[in-house]
């Protein structure tokens, strides 16, 4: 395809704007060009975070001497048929890229057409163009950008560390690589090969970029309507992340980071994901070029559809349907209880609405069944039968509590007070705001009896909060103590995550997590925060990485620290499903009373709810 100057009319229709913001945007433009040229292999070389050198080599169709001369001029492009911006098929199209880059850096292009016997080279420096001259090269094109922003020193100041810029470029390349699984991508810095992706199937590419685990925990989806089609992969709701950093959106193969689109993904998952969790998705939208306007944003990140409402509902429905299909095997709990735990509020200050609300919910369900008879509606759950005795008899549940005791593994005796003392302690404990532990149910919840009702505690959430508060205290008091690992643990990550973790190694060490590089895409963990005990180290590091990637902003240091600590706390040792002795349960309750902000876990869920006797009486229609 020969390069022509765009007519004036068309130039005017192109929205003005800076194309070159940072090294990553240069990479994006150059690699898109390479892909448009039909490359089967694209190699990107980075030096000094792209400041001293960005080079993109491809084995595409190449350019003639004439093309070369024209290519570096503003609004010259090989890609627009019929002078129409409407039908936009290729990736880079605005004829601005090379000219814009040439304006702020030293640009050199060597290119050879497939059928030509010689290559041509052209150099442009701060906009000054030299004549093309013969050069040596295999068919294809090499674009070298040296000393980016040397002509505009003010821009240099806005660049982040070489590491951060390299990571950003890697991110851009991965997005493009996801859309082009049949093309080989290599990304090399002075230090190492950041990644090297062989051409292969789309699934193989997804596995290489989002990790095998994503594919293992994802469903495929597809839908089509009135010329638009969507397809892709979405993670199961249970495989969510703390950050929306694994959402890849493509429109006609073009990576976009359109906020509206990511909002749609969130909407589709809204009722299956808790607040603050995000799905991983790869979403492709395809339509005829005239049905979409990709010319909204100078960097082509945003898009505008001819029928936005249609596309919106198409995406949401496709995802929802798939989630419903895949998710129906998940037993959804009946959520009737109203959360009780506000910051610092202990039970005696609590409004007594929880039980009533629960009862209301049951009644509503009953009403929905359009049945007149209400009274005999519920098959009383077994505990219900004891309800009459509950108020009077402290021992009603004692037998239940005993059942859980033999299950405790001796090694788990961590919080144990001595058993004799606890017997008498239980009486006294009733005077505590969170009461005396009676039993543990389903290895997850602690039931405690207080003076005026019962308290149900989510043991995992409560312990998580306590650990977080402890970590914060330790940090404030001069340092989080760390336990060395006798056998250091190797954690496999995707390259981005490993980079992010290593880039923050110093901060993490401050917080008690000591990591070292361990080959590409892996880190070695040497020490962990002591407060976490024996934890799932791999899971911990993965969550921390996702967290870091999402909060990679210098000004948010404090916030970032809190995020990391919260992630740590999530990985403490008392997970749901572990049996606790009564002493352990009481110890947990007392610690909750001592710990500020223990009313909710750090995902905003309550750690306990209370049912007063009045609530219970209402529930059983005794009032």
């Amino acid at each position: 395809m020969a390069i022509r100057r765009l007519p004036e009319t068309l130039i005017n229709r192109i929205a003005a704007g800076e194309v070159v913001e940072r090294p990553a945007s240069v990479v994006k433009e150059l690699v898109e060009n390479a892909l448009d040229a039909g490359a089967g292999e694209v190699e990107t070389i980075f030096r000094d975070g792209g400041r001293s050198l960005i080079e993109v080599r491809d084995d595409g169709c190449g350019m003639t001497r004439e093309d070369l001369a024209l290519a570096v001029e503003r609004h010259a492009t090989s890609k627009l048929d019929d002078d129409s911006l409407v039908r936009i098929i290729t990736l880079g199209f605005r004829g601005e890229a090379l000219a814009s880059i040439a304006a702020v850096a030293r640009l050199a292009i060597i290119s050879r057409r497939q059928e030509a016997d010689t290559a041509w080279e052209i150099r442009v420096e701060a906009g000054r163009k030299e004549e093309p001259r013969p050069a040596a090269r295999a068919p294809g094109t090499t674009v070298s950008v040296r000393d980016l922003f040397f002509a505009t020193p003010a821009r240099l100041k806005f660049l982040r560390s070489a590491r951060a810029e390299t990571m950003e470029a890697a991110r851009v390349l991965r997005r493009l690589a996801l859309a082009h699984p049949d093309v080989a991508f290599r990304f090399v810095t002075e230090a190492r090969a950041v990644f090297s992706l062989a051409p292969g199937t789309e699934e193989a590419r997804i596995a290489a970029i989002l990790g095998r685990a994503f594919l293992d925990n994802a469903f495929a989806f597809a839908a089509e309507r009135e010329g638009y089609s969507v397809r892709g992969w979405g993670s199961l709701p249970t495989f969510s992340r703390g950050q929306p950093d694994q959402q890849y959106l493509f429109v006609n193969g073009r990576p976009v980071t359109d906020r509206q689109l990511s909002g749609l993904v969130r909407a589709a998952y809204s009722d299956v994901l808790e607040k603050g969790r995000h799905p991983s998705v790869v979403l492709h939208i395809a339509c005829a070029p005239e049905l979409v306007d990709v010319n909204v944003h100078p960097a082509k990140r945003e898009v505008r559809f001819r029928q936005p409402a249609l596309v919106r509902s198409l995406i949401i429905n496709a995802l929802r349907e798939a989630i419903a299909r895949e998710g129906q095997r998940t037993a959804m709990p009946v959520r009737g209880m109203v959360p009780a735990g506000d910051d610092n509020k202990l039970p005696h200050q609590e409004k007594p609405a929880a039980g009533a609300a629960f009862a209301d919910r049951l009644s509503q369900e009953a009403a929905r069944l359009s049945l007149a008879a209400q009274a005999p509606l519920m098959d009383l759950p077994p505990q219900g039968r004891h309800s009459a005795g509950l108020a009077e008899s402290k021992t009603a549940f004692a037998g239940v509590a005993d059942v859980s005791a033999p299950d405790l593994s001796p090694a788990g005796l961590d919080a144990g007070a001595d058993a004799g003392a606890a017997e008498t302690g239980a009486e006294a404990a009733e005077n505590h705001p969170l009461g005396a532990a009676l039993a543990q149910v389903h290895g997850t919840y602690i039931i405690a009896q207080t003076q005026d009702g019962i308290v149900i505690v989510d043991q995992h959430a409560a312990h998580e909060r306590i650990v977080l508060e402890r970590l914060k205290r330790e940090r404030a008091a001069g340092g989080i103590s760390r336990q060395g690992l006798l056998i250091p643990e190797v954690v496999e990550l995707d390259a981005d995550s490993a980079d992010a973790v290593l880039a923050h190694a110093e901060m993490l060490a401050d917080l008690g997590l000591v990591v070292e590089p361990f080959g590409p895409g892996a880190v070695l963990v040497r020490e962990v925060p002591a407060a976490l005990g024996h934890c799932d180290v791999a899971g911990l590091v993965r969550d921390v990485a996702a967290d870091l990637i999402a909060h990679d902003l210098p000004q948010a240091l404090q916030e970032r620290l809190e995020h990391v600590l919260a992630t740590f706390a999530c990985h403490h040792s008392v997970r749901a499903g572990r049996f606790l002795t009564r002493e352990e349960m009481d110890a947990l309750l007392r610690e909750m009373e001592r710990t500020p902000r223990s009313g909710q876990c750090n995902h905003g869920r309550p750690t306990w709810v209370k049912l007063t006797l009045a609530d219970l009486e209402r529930l059983f229609k005794r009032a």
């Binding site: 593994s409 205290r473 690992l485 006798l486 056998i487 020490e527």
Partner: protein
Amino acid sequence: MRVTVERNALLKALGHVQSVVERRTTVPILSNVLMQAGEEGLKLTATDLDMEVVEEVAANVLEGGAGTAPAHLLHDIVRKLPDGSQLSIEQPDEGRVAVISGRSRFMLPALPPEDFPDLAAGEPSHEFAIPVDDLAFFIERTKFAISTEETRYYLNGIYFHTLEREDGSVAMRAVATDGHRLARAELPAPEGAAGMPGIIVPRKAVLELLRLLDAAEEDVQVALTQSKIRFAIDGVVLTTKLIDGNFPDYERVIPIDNDKRLEVDTRLFAQAVDRVSTVSSEKGRAVKLSIESERLVLSVNNPEAGSAEEELSCHYEGEPLEIGFNARYLLEIAAQIESATTVFLFSDAASPTIMRDSDDDRTIYVLMPMRV
């Protein structure tokens, strides 16, 4: 089947076998004990499918045969019969087992003995006899370090293996680690054990074994098949599956050139650690050891509950050193050390530390420091 048996003998045997029977099992036959009456007497078997305990009781067999009955129920019944009484067990029909003693008569539901699992089969590749004390030593010295964390399941047991020492003799080792500390016990290998494959005995079986060793006197006969290990202890036979995994190359984490040597009175040290750690509200808090020649200071600093410090005399060569450890880990290891003096070998505040008994080089403990 019809046998008469002495109550105390039966009670003891039932006590041994019933402890492997899970109280809450979904498989009815697994809550039963298998009783087989043969020439040697009455053989009782119980299992949870991971391990099996078999014990023979002297009995007067009037009629051979086999039956099963609920283990806990049978145990409770026998326990309540008068001391020294005789009882008779018979099977009036396939579905029931009768227990008769004096004027008491119990009818228990039975399940067919053919349905009862069998874990004993298999030809052993290695057989050897090990003194009770040796086996108990291996287990007692290492069991505290067994990991209970499930993701690294291959650490959920004690690793036994043999190796050739430099002098050509063969040693047997037991090793356990939870990733924070490691315990290794070594003794001369029993005859016949040389060349046995390294095996990981699951924690549950280890604890059961230790209970059985408690009253044992004769050497324990050990037989190893491809996938199981069998211990015969004074007439009780425990057979268990093994952990199907590879134990990590633990030698690599045991430092060999730690040159800073501290000697301290074991009992005084343990008491001091216990005392200073009272001020830390959480058990996992670090105790700091500040070591100079002849002087060891233990301290804990808890911003809320205050601080504690205690000084001990010691013997120490080397540069002054400050190093922190999890108080609980220190106490657990100190509890293993029998002699008056404990030896510490340090490299630096970030590297694995060795603890050992000054008089006993059969065991070695490795502990990772805690850092603040």
